[in-house]
């Protein structure tokens, strides 16, 4: 793990937090980075590290990669996606009022916002939108869309921008990369028909929640069912999301009980489940804490030094160092 911007020491920690067995670890350095991130996340929680109180704004570059003009989403549609993100991550989405009463105390304003980048990597003014016509009729989950040489669009520096690719992604609605992976593929990919809440966005994935979900992964959130198939043994490493079996689809009726999690059941209205856009509308305090942990270390380059200092204030050196 590299030293975060601001000159802080690398926050390795010799804990025992297991790295999830399903993490794709084709690269040893990636597995090592993932372990370090989880160790620090776990250590911050144990140490009751300070929570961030200031809003962090993430600059976003949207790469629109299209063969057919119909997939070349409009500026308006892109703006709608940014608006959705800013509502969802601030618990300012109108449908947050639908959270069932037992789960309302867990609803979190994550204090994270997003804005299209105003400056490009060369320091020039930009709209924060890159449009690339491609010869590729469609893309899969193999990262090709992230490389000009493969018909996509090259990432902007991942320590300064959240890269968001929009393309004809088949059959996925979106996929992400967890923190700690290669910079050249860092970011999220969303299908043109599941992006934003206007234009080509198509029901039931027409409210912009696919990007909310994928960016949750980008900030180190796991699926609420624990990525263990339909079993009850997996964990999302968040305490205030009930243990759940497998993903929920569609728009379930509350309560939906699995894994003995009654009476309230699965938190299927969480952004990190697999329900339809109209059926998901909350992050939890525990998830917010986990995203904070990512912003305190592996995503620290997006946080002002003063804010970062506050996130580590009073935390023992033994937690901050190996």
């Amino acid at each position: 793990m590299s030293t975060p911007e601001g000159g802080r020491p690398a926050h390795h920690w010799c804990g025992t937090m297991p790295v999830h067995h399903q993490m794709i670890a084709t690269r040893p350095d990636y597995a090592i980075a993932r372990a370090a991130i989880e160790n620090t996340t776990f250590a911050r929680r144990n140490a009751r590290a300070p929570r961030r109180r200031e809003v962090v704004t993430i600059p976003v570059v949207v790469h629109v990669v299209y063969q057919q003009e119909a997939h070349n989403v409009s500026d308006e549609q892109i703006a709608s996606q940014i608006t959705v993100l800013n509502q969802d991550f601030r618990a300012a989405n109108p449908d947050v009022s639908q959270v069932p009463a037992p789960f309302r105390p867990a609803v979190a304003d994550t204090l994270i916002e997003f804005a299209l980048a105003g400056t490009d990597p060369a320091g020039q003014p930009t709209s924060g939108i890159v449009r690339r016509r491609t010869g590729q009729a469609q893309f899969g989950d193999d990262d090709a869309v992230k490389f000009s040489s493969r018909g996509g669009s090259d990432a902007w520096p991942a320590d300064r921008y959240l890269n968001l690719w929009v393309c004809n992604l088949v059959p996925w609605l979106g996929y992400a990369q967890f923190p700690g992976g290669p910079a050249e593929t860092d970011g999220v990919v969303v299908a043109y028909h599941a992006f934003g809440n206007t234009g080509t966005a198509t029901a039931p994935f027409n409210l912009g929640r696919t990007a909310t979900h994928e960016i949750g992964h980008w900030l180190n959130l796991r699926h609420i069912w624990g990525d263990d198939g339909d079993a009850c043994s997996g964990d999302d490493f968040v305490a205030d999301t009930p243990n759940a079996a497998g993903p929920n689809f569609g728009a379930p009726t509350f309560p939906s009980v699995t894994c003995g999690n009654g009476p309230n059941g699965d938190m299927f209205m969480n952004f990190m489940d697999y329900t339809d856009d109209r059926a998901m509308f909350m992050f939890t305090n525990g998830q917010s804490e986990r995203m904070d942990a990512a912003l305190s270390q592996v995503r620290a380059s997006f946080v002002a030094k003063k804010v970062l200092d506050g996130m580590w204030a009073g935390v023992a050196e033994s937690v901050m160092r190996t």
Partner: protein, 106 residues
């Protein structure tokens, strides 16, 4: 494989909307289905190999490969190439043109 394998080879995708009684209904890849955040897909190849498109933690579909055989029942036995992965058995509830119904067995 043997004669009871008729109708089993194919590139199958889970049509969960059609599930009944704990059994999972699969349709051929490309069959018109509503969009979904994820659908299980399994390629049962005629040469006895298979590709299991799993659900990844980052929403991708990591592929697990192995070999499949048909056992009395009929049942499908999936033996992963990864020696660390346990074998799985699926009961074939129905195998019709364009429709395969499977049930996980412990």
């Amino acid at each position: 494989m043997n004669a009871t394998a008729a109708g089993l080879p194919g590139d199958w995708v889970h049509a969960r909307e059609e599930d009944t009684g704990g059994a999972k209904v699969y349709r051929p890849w490309g069959h018109p289905l509503p969009p979904s955040r994820w659908r299980h897909r399994i390629e049962l190849r005629p040469d006895g190999s298979y590709v299991d498109h799993r659900l990844g933690a980052d929403d991708r579909s990591p592929r697990a490969r192995g070999h499949w055989t048909v056992e009395p029942g009929p049942r499908i036995r999936l033996r992963p190439d990864d020696q660390g992965e346990p074998a799985r058995t699926l009961e074939v509830v129905a195998a019709e043109p364009g429709r395969l119904v499977l049930k996980d067995l412990p």
